[in-house]
Symmetry: none
Subunit: 419 residues, 2 copies
C-alpha cells in the first residue's frame, strides 16, 4: 500500500515556507503502515496540479493533496481536481450552512467569497472543517482496475492536521490491514559517521529486504535508523531487536538514547539520579552548553549555573584561573580547561565542573592551534581530565558539536562513576 503526498503552493516553491505539512502527513501514514513513496510540491497552476495528480495516481494507491483550497482567487485546487476527473462542481447547501453558522457564532456575516468554500466536485465526499472554512474532500475511485483514494485538504497546518486526525486517518486505518513498518533510531554522540561504521563493522549478515540500517549524520551526533518491514519478512520485528542489541554490543558507549531522546535530557536524568549538581565554565561555546541544559524543564534540580568566561579577565577574576597558566600555555590548552572546570566547581559550590575553551573560527587560528581546536575540561572532586577535539565545520557547526561532545563527556564520566 503506497501513498504520494502532493503539496500545492507557490510559497513553498520560492522557499518562503518550509514544508512541515508533508513531513507531518508522511509520519502519520508511516505509523499506519502505509509506505510513502514520494513527496511532491507543485505551484498554484491548474496544469501542474493535474499533471502531478495523474502521476501520483498512477504510482500509488493513496494520494493526499494539501493546499490551495481557500476562498481567494489564487486557490485553484478544487477546480483543477474537478477538471482532472472531468466532473462538475456543485454547491452544497448543508456545507454552506455549517460555514454560515461558524461566522454567526463569531458575530460575523459570511463573506460572499466564502460561497466557494461550499463547492464540491460531483461524487466527492466533503469532510467538514471544524477549525476553518475550507472543507476537505474524500474520493474513492478505480484506475487501471485498482481501487484508489484521493484526499484533498486545506494547507493551513492546524486545519490540515485536524482533518487528518479526525477524518482521514480513522478511515484509512479502518480500510487498511497492513503490518506497519517499524523503526528504531539509536542516537550516538562523540563519534563521526565513518568511525562509527568502522566501530560497528559489517552488518550485511543482519540486513536484507526485511531489515535496513541507515546512518544519519548531524551536528548533534550520528543517528542510526533501523527499519523492519514485517510485511516482507514475518521475522523482521524479532530481528530488529536482535540488530539493535548487536549494535549496542559493538558501539554501546557511543549510544546515549533512542528515538526522540535528547542528550541534554539524558545527562539531566543521570545527574538527577546521582544527586550531583553541575556548573559550567564556557569560553568557546559561549553559553550554548548552559542553553542546551536549560532547554529541559526542571533542569534547575541539577544545574546551578555557569560562567561564560569569554574574556580572559573573566577566566582569571571570576573563575580563578591563574594568569601564568594562560601566559604559559595559552587560553586554549589542557591546563586552562582544567583550571576553568575546577574553578567554576569551587566558585559555584557544584559537584561537577565542566569547561570549554577553543577556537571556533573563522579567524583566530594559528599553525599550532588551528581553527577547530577545542579543549573540554571536567572536574568532579574524585577525578579531573580534559579532552582535545579537532572540529572541521563552520563556526556554528563547531559550537554545536563542541557542546554535544561536552555534554557527552559528562554522560561518559557519570557512567564510569556508576561502575
Amino acid at each position: 500500500m503506497q501513498a504520494t503526498v502532493v503539496t500545492i503552493g507557490d510559497e513553498l516553491l520560492i522557499g518562503q515556507v518550509v514544508n512541515t505539512n508533508a513531513a507531518w502527513v508522511a509520519q502519520r501514514l508511516t505509523d499506519l503502515g502505509i509506505e510513502v513513496a514520494g513527496l511532491v510540491t507543485v505551484p498554484d497552476m491548474s496544469e501542474a496540479i493535474q499533471s502531478e495528480l495523474g502521476r501520483a495516481i498512477a504510482a500509488s494507491d493513496i494520494v493526499i493533496v494539501t493546499g490551495g483550497l481557500g476562498p481567494t482567487h489564487d486557490d485553484i485546487t478544487l477546480s483543477a481536481v474537478a477538471e482532472y476527473f472531468g466532473v462538475d462542481v456543485e454547491f452544497d447547501a448543508d456545507l454552506f450552512e455549517r460555514i454560515r453558522k461558524r461566522f454567526e457564532r463569531r458575530g460575523l456575516t459570511v463573506p460572499e467569497s466564502n460561497r466557494t468554500q461550499a463547492m464540491v466536485p460531483t461524487g466527492f465526499e466533503p469532510l467538514p472543517n471544524p477549525v476553518g472554512t475550507a472543507p476537505g474532500l474524500w474520493y474513492e475511485f478505480e484506475s487501471d482496475g485498482r481501487p484508489k483514494r484521493l484526499v484533498v485538504l486545506p494547507g493551513v497546518p492546524m486545519e490540515m492536521r485536524t482533518l487528518m486526525t479526525d477524518e482521514v486517518l480513522p478511515r484509512l486505518s479502518r480500510q487498511e490491514r497492513l503490518p506497519p513498518i517499524v523503526y528504531r533510531t539509536l542516537l550516538t554522540a562523540g563519534i563521526g559517521e565513518s568511525n562509527l561504521q568502522e566501530e560497528i563493522g559489517p552488518m550485511e549478515a543482519y540486513l536484507d529486504a526485511g531489515l535496513k540500517l541507515a546512518y544519519l549524520p548531524g551536528v548533534r551526533g550520528v543517528r542510526l535508523r533501523l527499519t523492519a518491514y514485517p510485511g516482507r519478512d514475518v521475522e523482521a520485528l524479532k530481528r530488529l531487536d536482535e540488530l539493535a542489541e548487536e549494535i549496542k554490543v559493538r558501539a554501546g558507549k557511543y549510544i546515549y538514547g533512542e528515538g526522540e531522546d535528547k542528550l541534554e535530557a539524558v545527562v539531566g536524568r543521570m545527574l538527577r539520579e546521582s544527586g550531583l549538581k553541575v556548573a559550567l565554565a564556557e569560553s568557546c561555546t559561549g553559553g550554548r552548553i548552559a542553553g542546551r541544559l536549560t532547554d529541559i524543564a526542571g533542569s534547575s534540580d541539577y544545574f546551578l549555573g555557569g560562567v561564560v568566561a569569554y574574556d580572559n579577565t573573566v577566566k582569571v577574576e571570576v573563575l580563578g584561573v591563574s594568569s601564568e597558566t594562560i601566559e604559559t600555555h595559552g587560553a586554549v590548552s589542557r591546563h586552562v580547561a582544567l583550571e576553568m572546570a575546577d574553578g567554576v566547581r569551587h566558585r559555584l559550590k557544584a559537584d561537577i565542573g565542566l569547561s570549554s575553551t577553543g577556537i571556533m573560527g573563522p579567524g583566530g587560528g594559528s599553525e599550532e592551534k588551528p581553527v577547530g581546536t577545542v579543549w573540554i575540561g571536567y572536574a568532579d572532586g574524585q577525578s579531573a581530565g580534559a579532552v582535545k577535539i579537532m572540529l572541521a565545520g563552520d563556526r556554528d557547526g563547531n559550537r554545536e558539536q563542541a557542546t554535544t561532545i561536552a555534554l557527552n563527556l559528562v554522560r561518559l564520566r557519570l557512567l564510569k562513576r556508576k561502575h
Copy 2:
C-alpha cells in the same frame, strides 16, 4: 529558466526529518530569477532516483539533487546517477588527497570507507567540500537538444549550503541573465504582528501586481517582506524603495535591520562603535543571550562574558544580589533584575550589564506570576531600568523571544545614548 529540486532520503519520506534543504535551495534559486517548478522527495532507492531524474531533466533546465552522498552503504545517489547516465565511476586521486588532508589536520587517519567519497562519475566535475568529506558534483549536458545542468550535493544542511553558496550559485548566476524578482526584508523586534500592522497602517495605495508586502511572524521578530516584480511593472524597483522608506517612517524604531542581518550582529556593531563592553546575568534565558552574542565572530571585542545564575545561590554569591531582595520581591521581579544587571556589570568590570529573570514553563507559574512572566534588566552607569514582558509561547519559544527582547533592549538604549 526552470529548476527542479530533488531531495533523497527515507528519513524525509517517513516524516522523521522536515525538508528544510528544499526550501533553502528554492529560495536561493528564486533570488537568482530561476523559477522553481517542482520540489520532489524520493527514497534511497536507485530505481526511484533514476526515474525521478528522468522526469526532472525532461521538465526543467536545472536539476538540483541533495542527499545520499555519504560514505556508508545506504548512500546510493552517486551510483544511481552514474547508472542513469550510463557512465563509470572513477577514483579521483586529487579529491582523495584533499579528504585525507582533512582528516590529517585533525590528527586522524582517513577511514577506508572514505575512499568512496573520492569516486566521481565520468564527465562530472567534483566540487570539493570544505566542511565535510562528500564532494558535490556539477554536470553539463544536452537532452532533447537543450542544454541542461545537474547538480548533486550532500544532504547535511551545512555542507549543502556551503557548496551552494561557494560553488553552485556563482556558476548559475554567471550563466543566467534573467530579470530577477527583487526582495527586501525589513526585520523588526519588540512588537507583535498585529500591533506592527496597526503601527504601519494601510498600505494599499502602494501595492499592486508589481509590488507586494507580507508580514512573516517568528520568535525572533516579525519580518516584513517587500517584493518587486520588475517584469510586471518597470517602475516596481523604484517604488520598492519608496515603500521601504514609508514603512521606516511609520515604524522605524522597531526595525533593526534588513535581509540577512542578525539582531545580535547589529547590537554587536553598535557596541563596537560605542566602545562599550557588555556582560550578562542570565537566569531564565539560561545562556541563550550569551549564545546569540557569541554566534558572531569577533564578539570578544565587546562581549566580556556572563554569569548564568540559574540557582538563587549563584545570584547572591557570584552576582551580589541581596538575599533580602529575593525574599521580599521574589527572584522574578524588577528589583532582582536590576540587581543582577548592576551586579554583573561590577563583577565583570563591564560598561553595560544586561539581565534576565523569569518563568519559562511549563511549570513554576503562580496566579501573581504566571508562566511567561519575564523581567529584563539593564544598567550602564548612566541609567538603569527593567522591563516586564509577558510571553505566551512554549518553553523554547519563550526563551528565544525573551532573548530577542533583551538584545533589542540594548539596541534601543544605545540608540538613546547616541541622541
